[in-house]
Symmetry: C2
């Protein structure tokens, strides 16, 4: 497969305790497609993964919330893990950062517990999505239409349930990022 | 302080990844007051605590869901931690076990992420309660009136925010368990 996302800049939003595979696999898939991936977090330095309840690998933070702006990115990826969305969802800079991607109609992809952040950003009402089973009542109560599928795409919002869905999640994510590019190219004609 | 909860049987509902202090401190406070405390979980054996992202102590499980019945207990305690409520809230036996305590008007105490289980048990509508900040939007969306206080008591429902509130949480929990006893004694007159 040729690189189809050259020049696209993607933000991955995570904090300590993100689920390891849910950050590293989408990052690899996007980079393999030619995109430039930036890790955005609450603080400078590095963040440490979880592999479910065990701690995992670390990754450097490229930019911090408050400084990072949605305008400078073409898409947003939100990994799960229990601690990362839990720490991020209460932060006002997170909420406005996420809302801006929706306002700018850019692709947003969230997996597992990642959609918890979409609840606090107040962007799920009327949207069709999926997630890890544990947070589905919360998503439904927030106004989402929740389904149980490996990957769901609803007008640029890509969601999946668990690490088992990563292959389907990454494929749809790359596809949406490339569609974003196509739309931008169309506008520039 | 003399033991005021002799003969009371209390269920603590937890799974792997419960926040260590949020199980052990209420357990000690109840036992110091004379109560008999049973740990109820998904499987036999033992469960292991977290201390935030680190793993902590283990504790034996006394009875499993499906077998344990609310009728045999005088009150229910639900510790937080991110993994324990996350694993428990999707389980049908958990939901009916929790609902039965409410139906039987017995004290229920939940701290931190513990109230997530109350959302899936569908018992928070119209109730006043508190929790860790991260899940407050979910509780409000489920119909609860959410406040930010160290401990809240609403007709036998005792809730607190984080481990920092444990002293106030344990005091109110023991008080409610003893009130339950008083009510029972009054009925038997």
């Amino acid at each position: 497969m040729s690189a189809r996302a050259e020049g696209r800049r993607i933000a991955i939003l995570a904090a300590d305790g993100f689920e390891e595979s849910e950050l590293f696999e989408p990052k690899s898939a996007l980079e393999d497609a030619g995109a430039e991936v930036h890790v955005i977090s609450l603080n400078t330095g590095e963040i440490e993964a979880n592999r479910h309840r065990e701690t995992g690998k670390t990754i450097p933070v490229n930019d911090v919330l408050g400084n990072a702006k949605a305008e400078r990115f073409d898409a947003l990826v939100i990994p799960g893990g229990l601690f990362s969305p839990d720490a991020l969802r209460i932060n006002d800079d997170v909420k406005s950062f996420v809302r801006d991607f929706f306002a700018q109609k850019k692709p947003v992809a969230a997996i597992c517990h990642g959609p918890q952040i979409l609840i606090d950003a107040d962007v799920v009402k009327g949207r069709t999505l999926t997630s890890v089973e544990a947070i589905r009542t919360d998503l439904a109560n927030a106004g989402a239409k929740v389904v149980d599928e490996a990957v769901v795409v609803d007008e640029g919002l890509v969601t999946s349930r668990t690490p088992k869905d990563l292959e389907a999640f990454c494929a749809k994510l790359v596809e949406e990022v490339c569609e974003g590019q196509h739309a931008a190219q169309a506008q520039s004609v």
